[in-house]
């Protein structure tokens, strides 16, 4: 029987704050290899299909960018929330509402065309996401209702609302009864960046701009400082005159707007119409992206690309090996687990101690105990 003992480090380990995502990734690979072996697939073949083949050609990199864009956009917003110790986990719902608000123009006013359409749609998307995020923020500030549960419940409501829209009032009358809206007109489709090379659209640029902007805010501006102070010590923040309720609204509206932008970009760029399901769980996967990126916007860009690859890899193993594409979700979940576990190394040293041996006297323990002290 082994016991794990944590020894607090005098200060956080710079080494491990850099290394921990990589250790986590390596551990995920090992666990994933075991999983593939259990499924009766040669792990090396599976890894090749999962992680290498989906990004071996230029057009595939465009697909990666399409998947990474919403993840990064949502995750940078969430990182601000989580830094402030405010838990918005309803980004999936805000994503959907952004998509719905943004789609008002192409669905209800298809005759409206021109260069203004896209900017207006994006703006409405952000408004929609922010509006939907303001509900849990309002309930938290006004009634101190737990924001984790309310924001999550609203995801289900948003999914059902979208389902009703595309089956009911917004259904394409010429769509042969399929639950979908009309195809967006040309001026409502987010342009592709390099149409000759692949499908990637402006969404990835939005994501990169948002990441840099939030990074500047968090590291160079007073607002970012406020977020960090309130997150690590609400009391100190109060003494400094930073309003907690204002912060709740700020973080929720910001992350909601970014999730909404991701939603409308996805619908306008990658899908081209509203459907009952418009997201393979981007809003939840973005939580993993935020943590894998260490809640740092620049780290989140890298993490977003990694998680986007897990989606592509999941599709690849499904078609090549006949394994369920749910394998992507498993990879994502394992990755988050290992990231959180490895982050412990930043603040603590870990000792594994044999239960029986700790009771022996000191010298025997020094000589014989399988005491593994990980990297001081």
């Amino acid at each position: 029987m082994m016991r794990i003992e944590l020894v607090k480090r005098p200060q956080r380990s710079a080494l491990f704050s850099v290394l921990s995502p990589f250790i986590a990734f390596a551990l995920t690979m090992i666990a994933g290899g075991i999983m593939f072996a259990l499924l009766g697939v040669n792990p090396l073949d599976a890894f090749n299909i999962y992680f290498i083949q989906p990004i071996s050609e230029v057009w595939q990199l465009h697909e990666l960018a399409i998947k990474a864009a919403p993840l990064i956009l949502i995750a940078v917003g969430l990182s601000v929330c989580y830094k402030a110790n405010i838990w918005n986990i309803g980004a999936e719902g805000q994503f959907i509402f952004g998509a719905i608000f943004g789609s008002i123009i192409p669905v209800l006013f298809p005759q409206f065309e021109g260069p203004l359409v896209i900017p207006l749609m994006l703006l409405l998307g952000m408004v929609g996401g922010a509006f939907y995020a303001s509900i849990p923020a309002f309930l938290k500030t006004r009634f101190s209702t737990n924001e984790i549960l309310t924001s999550l419940m609203l995801v289900y409501v948003a999914q059902l609302f979208l389902d009703w829209l595309v089956r009911g009032p917004w259904r394409d009358p010429q769509g042969h009864g399929f639950p979908q809206t009309i195809q967006f007109g040309d001026s409502a489709v987010l342009p592709e960046l390099m149409p000759d090379a692949g499908r990637a659209n402006w969404g990835i640029l939005f994501a990169l701009v948002a990441a840099v902007a939030i990074w500047l805010m968090m590291s160079r501006m007073l607002k970012g400082f406020e977020v960090r102070v309130l997150g690590s010590s609400p009391r100190a923040g109060r003494f400094a005159g930073f309003g907690f309720n204002r912060m709740v609204f700020f973080t929720f509206l910001l992350s909601g707007a970014l999730a909404g932008l991701a939603g409308i970009s996805e619908v306008s760029g990658a899908i081209g119409q509203l459907q009952p399901v418009i997201s393979p769980g981007y809003g939840f996967t973005a939580i993993i992206v935020a943590f894998l990126g260490r809640l740092n916007p620049l780290g989140i860009v890298a993490a977003g690309l990694v998680l986007a690859l897990t989606y592509l890899g999941g599709e690849a193993v499904q078609s090549a090996l006949g394994i369920s594409d749910k394998v992507a979700r498993v990879f994502q979940g394992m990755l988050l687990f290992f990231v959180l576990g490895c982050d412990t190394l930043i603040h603590y040293r870990i000792r594994l101690i044999g239960m029986a041996l700790t009771k022996a006297n000191g010298t025997a323990q020094l000589e014989a105990a399988p005491k593994l002290e990980e990297a001081r």
Binding site: I4, L6, K8, Y82, W87, I89, L139, R142, F143, S144, T145, N146, I148, L149, T150, L152, M153, L154, Y156, V157, L160, F161, D163, W164, R167, G168, F284, T285, I287, I288, F291, I323, S324, K326, V327, A328, R329, V330, F331, Q332, G333, M334, L336, F337, L340, G341, D343, T344, Y348, I350
Partner: protein, 306 residues
């Protein structure tokens, strides 16, 4: 009369998984740990229960498997948050995400397969008493487990010394540790108990409620169970009341859909989730009640010093 009895029976069936999962989480939270992985543990229990029942043909083995799978899955959370002192909110979330993915992968081959159903209790004579017969003597076995579990947890938390110790840990792990109480050990056991309960609740879904495997079949029930604990301000009998209210809402909207009430079905389907929000608002606006009952060290990581 028959319709009323039938509706009451379906409400009980809908309330049972909520009750079991919430009672388990209540014990976990009373020990000061916030496990947001209920949804994940529940869905793992559902797939494990269905799988074991389907492969062996015995719903009882299925139920047992559901409990074991839930407990084992919660162990993952326990090691992370208790031994490695990770953030409980993030770890719980990842448990849910992992559970939803893993269950989907495991369950691929179960989709569309006929499941086995746990038979209802049938006591000759007693079960055929009009009205109360079926309500009291003719329900599924898990229903009785859920009621017994609630009573047992009430007794344990408020009438035993160990229960008192558990609550004291939840209120101040530092003081409890200073008194020589094994905080981490208690919490491990509490988390595993919560996992077993969530697994059992999942097993009820796939072995009684709808004896088949459908991806994401827990449909947010784990989250509603979490909300129920807050709603109940950490008291078992209020969890019982809350679970039945939610069971009634859940069944009510299904019946409304069946009766063809001229409201889009999606709006009716969203009622349980909206009701959860409303109920949370109502309970949390009463700050005194919430503050008084919330375990004081809920969600805070604890690292024993030597």
């Amino acid at each position: 009369m028959d319709i009323t009895v039938n509706i009451l029976l379906t409400i009980a069936t809908a309330a049972t998984p909520l009750l079991i999962a919430a009672i388990g989480e209540l014990v976990v939270e009373r020990s000061g740990v916030l496990n947001l992985g209920v949804e994940g543990m529940m869905i793992m229990g559902a797939v494990g229960g269905f799988g074991a029942g389907y492969l062996t043909g015995s719903p009882w083995i299925g139920l047992l498997a559901a409990i074991i799978v839930g407990a084992l899955f919660s162990l993952l959370f326990a090691v992370m948050t208790l031994s490695l002192a990770t953030n409980q909110v993030a770890t719980g979330l990842s448990l849910t995400l992992l559970g939803l993915g893993l269950s989907g992968m495991i369950g691929t081959s179960f989709v569309g397969q006929p499941g086995v159903r746990l038979p209802n209790l049938d006591i000759p004579g007693l079960s055929s008493i009009p009205v109360v017969g079926r309500l009291i003597f003719g329900q599924d076995p898990v229903f009785y487990i859920s009621i017994a579990l609630t009573a047992a947890v009430m007794w344990f938390l408020f009438r035993t010394r160990t229960g008192l110790t558990l609550r004291s840990i939840g209120d101040s792990h530092t003081s409890a540790h200073a008194l020589g109480i094994k905080v981490i050990r208690y919490r491990y056991l509490a988390v595993i108990f919560g996992g077993a309960c969530a697994g059992l609740a999942g097993g009820h879904l796939s072995l009684v409620y709808t004896p088949q495997w459908v991806e994401n079949m827990s449909a947010g029930r784990g989250w509603i169970a979490l909300a129920l604990v807050v709603f109940a301000s950490w008291r078992p009998w209020r969890v019982l009341a809350g679970a039945y209210i939610f069971g009634a809402v859940w069944i009510g909207q299904l019946h409304a859909q069946a009766f063809g009430i001229p409201v889009p079905s999606q709006f009716l389907s969203s009622l349980p989730y909206l009701a959860t929000i409303v109920v949370l608002v109502l309970i949390s606006r009463n700050k005194r009640l919430t503050m008084m009952n919330t375990p004081a060290s809920l969600g805070q990581p604890f690292v024993p010093d030597r």
